[in-house]
Amino acid sequence: MAELTAFHFRPGTSLLHTLDVRFKILSFVLISISSFKAYPSALSVLTLVIFYAILISCLPFKSILKELRYFFVLLVFIFIVRAMFTSASPVVDFKESAVAWQGIYDGALICWRLLIVVLFGLIFVSTTRPSDIRTAVEWFLMPFPFIPGKRVATMMSLIMRFVPLILDQARETIDAQRSRGVENRKNPVYRLIKLIIPLMIRTFKKADKLAVAMEARCYSEKRTNKALLSAKSDWITLFGVICLSILLSIIDT
């Protein structure tokens, strides 16, 4: 399960790989916000931008699409729900089909937006080292004195460490219980309890061990500060993205 997520860093040397991560995050947020209320004209522009980004980032896109197949299932589900539950436009007589047409349009629009946002996220994560993302988060949190940025950054890397451990553990527990016939028990509460308690006990022990191992490696919140350097190309990119966002909001009105 854990191996299937397409969202992970893929090393490379393209322009997108070398941009300053702070600028990438800002651009990513801006584009996400503008695609969030976009209509077909703006969405077409964004789709072109995505194709361009994929082209220059040299990512193995075929394999990524394959790994995203679960997401496509989610998209289809959202589409069906939307298509079925949108209010009919009152002008048309054929009630049944009117519901369908308006719904299909709405559903397609929402799926298109979601797809674009997810693809941008994918490109961002694929071209950015996780440790750089953490460094940037620390940097963005600096103005908030009451939030311990270093601890937040450490927690983020621990989360990404724990998720595959938990999923592997869950698979092992589920298999062990299935081989002892748990599927004959129909009571869902019973099965939930029997899955979660051993899973959590095991993962808590792992967390304990991890804390000790971190201590043995001198963990403290006073640690090497990573330098973030911005270049001209970063500012140009950010400027480009801002122009693009403004353009997109104009197209739609």
Partner: protein, 180 residues
């Protein structure tokens, strides 16, 4: 191991672990009838019950922040600010006040099972309030339809999860206690 520093470190590890469980909960499901029960909000309940209000809040806050930064912690193995702003983003934001309220109630009432149930019901109400109002705002559906899409199919599952959370919390509290 008895220093403040290592207690702090262990708390950090536990809070991260719950955030990771919440993320993993989006992939874990138990098939019951036609709709599989996704375990994500069960871990939100447990974070409130076991970590308490402050650490629970930190755990969920970092979970959302990690998701906003693009780490794949949301359902379907995706991440990104787009998911937080998308139609289901309200539920995710709702986790934040929900975990705090659950933690607060269980702390104030001495971790009694009956109050834990109340705490989790309050938490669910908060999650739905956030989730449904955002869903309604974004999609412009009528309230009745929003409820049909965004709440009714999940209520049974939530009741089961609350029922399961009580014995789970009871079994785990002694293990989780941060030893001096």
């Amino acid at each position: 191991m008895n220093t403040n520093h290592s207690i702090q470190l262990r708390k950090t590890a536990y809070a991260s672990l719950f955030a990771a469980l919440t993320a993993a909960g989006a992939y874990l499901s138990i098939p019951i009838g036609p709709v599989p029960i996704v375990l994500q909000n069960l871990f939100i309940f447990l974070a409130g019950l076991l970590l308490g209000s402050r650490m629970g809040l930190a755990s969920v806050g970092v979970y959302l922040l990690a998701g906003a930064c693009g780490f794949p912690v949301f359902a379907g193995g995706t991440g990104g600010i787009g998911r937080l702003l998308g139609p289901t983003g309200g539920y995710l934001f709702g986790y934040l006040p929900a975990v705090y309220i659950i933690g607060l109630i269980t702390e104030k009432t001495g971790r009694h099972a009956a109050f834990d149930v109340i705490a989790m019901c309050c938490g669910s109400v908060v999650i739905y309030a956030c989730g449904l109002s955002w869903l309604k705002l974004l999609t412009g559906m009528t309230l009745a339809k929003t409820l049909i899409v965004g709440m009714y199919p999940f209520i049974l599952g939530d009741a089961l999860k609350i029922a399961a959370a009580i014995p789970i919390a009871k079994a785990l509290r002694p293990i989780m206690r941060i030893k001096d």
